[in-house]
């Protein structure tokens, strides 16, 4: 569970003043929930994720993340834009988190291979990022985050740069992984991951989320919240024929206006 209370962030602006970027936010995300976050660009979405990933600290308020005994509790963040290390091969990039956490190389190799198969990059294991297209690099970043198998997954417009087909298949894979709880599909009784997913696509938010949060212009506040009641497992394509889908999409557009 993630709990924010009065969380806010201000930056120093370039002309010497202050720039309120975010909040104050009050928000609770339940364990195992899939929450999507939409909002105009510059409203502080990335800032929020960076704070939750402990890469930045809040200027006011606080947040708590419930501890879980035997899972990786630091949330893994899928960064906006390219986040591969240019000096590592695809294989090394994907195994990076595992290596830093001290996972045995035999175990981690097996996990990395499985993740590469999942994102369809097995043939590119020994390539360097400069040899890949933007979409392929994004898949490397996803594979790395999934390989970590964190209890909380923060995703910052992860599918923004992808073509429609790849996006669809990766959305599918993400849902699958989330529903299983365990990236590696080994532990059947693993609790579901908590996902906070930033997107600029209303369609994507409705296809993936249990709940969609709409943020206002900077400084970002939660302006509206829509729960998405579609049954799971979901099929991203047939979902769109549901009359409720149009209704929800319409409401989201209204909220974003």
């Amino acid at each position: 569970m993630i709990h924010l209370s009065q969380l806010s962030k201000v930056f120093a602006s370039s002309n010497g003043g202050i720039l309120p970027a975010l909040g104050p936010l009050n928000l609770t995300i339940n364990a195992g929930e899939f929450v999507c976050l939409v909002g105009p660009s510059g409203c502080g979405k990335s800032t929020l994720l960076r704070i939750l990933a402990e890469l930045d600290s809040p200027s006011g308020g606080s947040f708590q993340i419930a501890k879980n005994a035997d899972r990786n509790v630091t949330p893994t963040l899928v960064f906006q834009g390219d986040s591969t290390f240019p000096w590592m091969t695809v294989f090394e990039n994907v195994g990076y988190g595992l290596r830093m956490q001290g996972v045995d190389s035999k175990d981690s190799d097996a996990i990395v291979e499985q993740m590469l198969r999942t994102v369809g990059l097995s043939q590119f294991a020994e390539s360097y990022p400069y040899q890949l297209s933007g979409g392929m690099k994004q898949r490397v970043a996803l594979a790395r985050a999934w390989a970590n198998d964190p209890a909380i997954l923060l995703m910052d417009e992860p599918f923004g740069a992808l073509d429609e087909q790849t996006r669809l298949s990766l959305q599918h894979e993400l849902l699958h992984i989330w529903e299983l709880g365990d990236t590696l599909k080994k532990n059947k009784d693993q609790a579901k991951k908590t996902v906070l997913f930033v997107t600029h696509s209303i369609d994507e938010a409705l296809v993936l989320g249990d709940r969609v949060l709409v943020m206002s212009q900077r400084p970002g506040l939660i302006r509206d919240e829509i729960s998405v009641p579609f049954a799971r497992p979901r099929d991203p394509i047939t979902l769109k024929r549901d009359p409720l889908y149009g209704e929800l999409a319409y409401r989201l557009w209204q909220a974003l206006k």
Binding site: R50, A53, L55, D70, T74, T76, L77, F79, S83, F85, P86, W87, M88, F91, Y96, G97, M100, Q101, G102, V103, D104, S105, K106, D109, F124, A125, E126, S127, Y128, P129, Y130, Q131, L132, S133, G135, M136, R144, N148
Partner: protein
């Protein structure tokens, strides 16, 4: 050769031809500009009488010794200043103010300090190279996109990890630019210094030829300097290409705009090293490198250190272990083909980067290298090494094979303790010291206990599996409860024995720095008591291995420190 490759040679050739003609018909004064043919003749003459070679080697020696002495600390300091604000604020003013001084102008100062000696020449090179490399390295780290550090932190990297996996590799292109500039600069400066202090070397050759108006020799020496400078540049560029394979070549980038373009070929040498490094997994054997280094460190402490023997021992044991890795993978692969399921743990093999035949040949070659080194040591350092070697091979063999396989009858820990502890330490000690005092055996006991604790943790984890398979290990012979005590005995015992050895005056007190690892060890022992679930126990295995590694290196550091202190 294609037309384009010929083109660059045309203008110098034309120049030389015109020069030769003008010299022959007497248009230019041959006292100042001797004909190219004459210069060439001189070049051959001084090559044959050996004077040119000697001068070149002298210059190269001065250049490279000074360069290495400057470059290594410069890179380290540069990286440190890049990542650490405090270090930057502390050193930057000094470095920035000293950097612009023309280094050749420092020669008089250097002579005042060092006298007219070889050291003076090294000092000039060191000063010249150091600042250049520091500044380039620091700039490289500072120019790195901070997002890489964020990504690394989010993936669990801390402290040194950030340095080794982000700061250093990320700034390597800049570091190499600095190193390349530095080497060229080192050549310029050393030749200049030799002009001022003409005692051997190409600069001195130029200066002395000038004093006797031997102009052709001046030109000949200048040609050699130019060729050296050019060679340095080519070599450094090739080095850069080999060790920075992730830098896109311009044409490669253009080609790869389409999604599924084929990757550009990696430089050959780099690819070779990377693949075989991956295949042999030499790092998986720190557990056996540590005893070798410890044995050598004890020998050093006792006054028997010999660098050549040390390197040989290390190469020999790493080769044997890499060979073991390779041959195991090969047989795994052979078994795997029967079941068509697993291809074994060898990644390059699985990914088709190497063939099984290559793997087999590589294993044989590595074994051959290891055996050659081993036999050389036996021949020169005595039969005792042969005995230790044969015993180790037998122990390795009967570890899992035969009717009385140690690992299957609860003797695994004992055998590992004996061989990865006292035997290996004593063996490498003997190579240098030519004797085998009991003291060394005692000194190896802590390390042996802790290495045995790794295996014991492993057996604690596999407790139910081994029971089911009928594999008897100390863990399942003793039962859960007692096996936890045994872990305490092994892991904690290592520290207790070490303290005892220090109290008894057997181990130098500086080895007590291993106690830095004690809090960690206590955590592990607690973990061992707290859990019986396979997942946390798996963590215990890995953490014990890491703990052993740190303990070993701390002990080695302590021995070396004691050796240095003793002098």
């Amino acid at each position: 050769m294609s037309k384009e490759r010929l083109l660059p040679f045309i203008s110098p050739l034309i120049l030389l031809t015109i020069w030769e003609m003008l010299a022959r018909i007497g248009v230019i004064d041959i006292r100042f500009f001797p004909a190219p043919s004459e210069i060439f003749g001189t070049l051959i003459k001084i090559t044959q009488d050996g004077s040119l070679l000697e001068a070149t080697l002298t210059t190269l020696r001065r250049m490279s010794i000074g360069y290495v002495l400057a470059a290594i600390p410069a890179v380290l300091l540069g990286v440190l200043m890049g990542v650490n604000r405090f270090a930057r604020l502390l050193f930057a003013p000094l470095i920035n103010s000293l950097y612009p001084i023309p280094k050749i102008a420092l020669v008089p100062m250097v002579i005042l300090i060092f006298g007219i000696s070889e050291n003076a020449k090294y000092a000039v090179v060191i000063i010249s190279v150091f600042f250049l490399v520091v500044i380039n390295t620091m700039a490289g780290v500072l120019n790195l996109d901070p997002k890489y550090f964020d990504i690394a932190r989010n993936n669990g990297a801390r402290g040194w990890d950030l340095l080794w996996t982000v700061a250093f590799p990320g700034s390597l292109p800049n570091i190499l630019t600095g190193l390349n500039l530095g080497l060229g600069f080192a050549l310029t400066v050393i030749v200049g210094t030799e002009l001022l202090l003409p005692q051997g070397g190409l600069g001195a050759m130029i200066w002395k030829s000038y004093q006797i108006y031997d102009v052709p020799t001046i030109f000949a020496a200048l040609i050699v300097v130019a060729v050296l400078g050019w060679g340095i540049n080519v070599a450094m560029e090739e080095l850069e290409r080999q060790i920075i394979p992730w830098k896109a070549l311009p044409q490669a980038q253009a080609k790869n705009l389409s999604t599924n373009a084929k990757p550009v070929a990696e430089p050959r040498i780099r690819r070779f090293i990377r693949i075989w490094w991956m295949a042999a997994r030499p790092f998986s054997f720190t557990a056996s490198v540590t005893p070798v280094v410890l044995g050598s460190a004890i020998a050093a402490y006792d006054g028997f250190f010999n660098l050549g023997l040390f390197i040989l021992t290390l190469v020999g044991s790493v080769a044997i272990h890499a060979g073991t890795n390779l041959i195991n993978d090969y047989y795994d692969w052979k078994k795997g083909t029967d079941t068509a399921e697993s291809l074994g743990p060898n990644r390059p093999l699985k990914e088709g980067l190497i063939t099984p035949q290559q793997l087999f040949v590589a294993a044989l070659l590595t074994f051959a290298l290891g055996s050659a080194v081993g036999l050389y040591l036996v021949a020169t350092r005595g039969v005792f090494i042969l005995i230790i070697g044969v015993l180790s091979v037998l122990a390795g063999w009967f570890y899992t094979a035969g009717p009385f396989a140690f690992a299957y009858v609860g003797l695994g820990e004992v055998v590992v303790f004996i061989f990865m502890g006292p035997v290996m330490v004593l063996g490498s000690y003997y190579v240098m010291a030519q004797q085998w005092p009991w003291r060394v055996v005692w000194l190896a006991v802590p390390l042996g206990l802790i290495v045995a604790s790794i295996l014991h943790a492993n057996n604690m984890r596999d407790y139910p599996d081994d029971l089911a398979k009928g594999k008897r290990t100390l863990a399942n012979l003793l039962g859960r409860r007692a096996s936890k005590n045994e872990f305490l005995l092994l892991m904690g015992g290592g520290f207790v024995v070490l303290v005892l050895l220090v109290l008894l005056g057997i181990a130098p007190w500086l080895t007590l720095i291993t106690l830095f690892e004690l809090p960690n060890a206590i955590k592990l022992i607690r973990l061992g008591y707290a859990t019986e679930a396979p997942q946390p126990l798996n963590k215990l295995v890995r953490a014990s291995a890491a703990s052993h590694k740190r303990f070993g290196w701390l002990m080695i550091a302590g021995m070396i420190a004691a050796w240095v202190v003793r002098g």
